[in-house]
Symmetry: C2
Subunit: 212 residues, 2 copies
């Protein structure tokens, strides 16, 4: 969605939760919802929900709430999954393999197109329905195919080098599982870092603060 | 840390970022920092930082900032990692394997004690320095060992059943990678759900909103 207003990182993190809630409601046959119900389910306040969704137009109405089908389309457009995205996995170790095997990419309009690994043993084997290619084929592949997002699941040691190659090839976005800062120009490439330890530390906080 | 004040989920998510920043600064030999520097690095505002840390006592001072060693200890206590936590991995598929092999558990005072899987082929093999046991040994193991956190990386199909077993055994916390709601009483057990797709959707939002 072009020309989006600035919304805070916390609001961005709520967008997927809106989407899951809306799609669950639609699957259950509901046709309307309210900011209060959304807020209650995702652990936000009604005014946060109204403010988040209000950034993108005026499609709820007082006393009526939101039409779920319209809201679904709107939130998909906000997130940007109304258009398809082509994905490649770079590094088929245990994390790359887990993502290829378990993620429901098509549900959100993502196409897993290719996977690469440095290991000659994996070259030509299959994962998640696609054939693994050798990492040396990556530059040529990227020149001939339009990939929007690379999932970076190489080792920590090669993270920066491979990221630099992706950057130079003009890849628009990297989903970074390497626990390594990639130090790329964030005006030219979008990087989302995934750090499992942060989630475990949040869990520990909740565990310890519940020990009253 | 017992008797913690209520802090918002967003503030909880900032705690690990404070910890990483503080520890990086200490590694670089720094001894003091300010709320402005912390805010700048982690993408929050100075007043958010002061408010978050102010929940837990008055240990910054105007014009001087924070003593990093003190702040490190305080944030570790807030998160709860000043005490060790024993961890078991339940399910050694690709995600369980990735976590066992790549997570730096000792750095944050976590002890990976055991791993379990339903596959007879894995029984007795090693991962991350520990021996994989058969899932049927889990109840007896939990009766004889004190485990604080179970990492749930079983298949979606067996998620609820295994979670129920952990709950009945009195396991205090589950780190849930199964993409399945566990429907357990959250007064008796702490559950942290990890959903990779949300991170990918946030990435897509940033990618599409940068296409102006």
């Amino acid at each position: 969605m072009k020309g989006l207003p600035y919304i805070s990182p916390n609001a961005v993190n709520r967008l997927p939760k809106y989407l899951h809630y809306i799609q669950e409601q639609l699957e259950q046959g509901a046709d309307r919802t309210t900011s209060a119900k959304i807020a209650d389910t995702i652990g936000a306040t009604s005014s946060q929900v109204r403010q988040d969704l209000g950034h993108f137009g005026n499609f709820g109405s007082q006393g009526y709430g939101y039409n779920l089908k319209e809201l679904d389309q709107t939130v998909q457009r906000i997130i940007g999954i109304h258009v398809p995205h082509n994905i490649a996995i770079i590094g088929v170790g245990s994390i790359g393999r887990a993502l290829a095997e378990h993620m429901d990419f098509p549900k959100y309009n993502f196409n897993l197109c290719a996977a690469f690994d440095i290991s000659p043993k994996l070259d030509g084997t299959k994962i998640g329905g696609i054939t693994i290619r050798h990492l040396s084929e990556l530059p040529e592949y990227l020149e001939n195919h339009s990939i929007d997002i690379c999932i970076l699941t190489v080792s920590r040691e090669s993270a920066k080098e491979v990221a630099q190659l992706l950057y130079e090839q003009g890849i628009p976005a990297i989903w970074n599982f390497t626990n390594t800062p990639l130090d790329l120009d964030d005006k030219k490439i979008t990087v989302q870092n995934v750090d499992f330890i942060d989630s475990l530390l949040a869990l520990t906080y909740y565990l310890e603060s519940s020990n009253d």
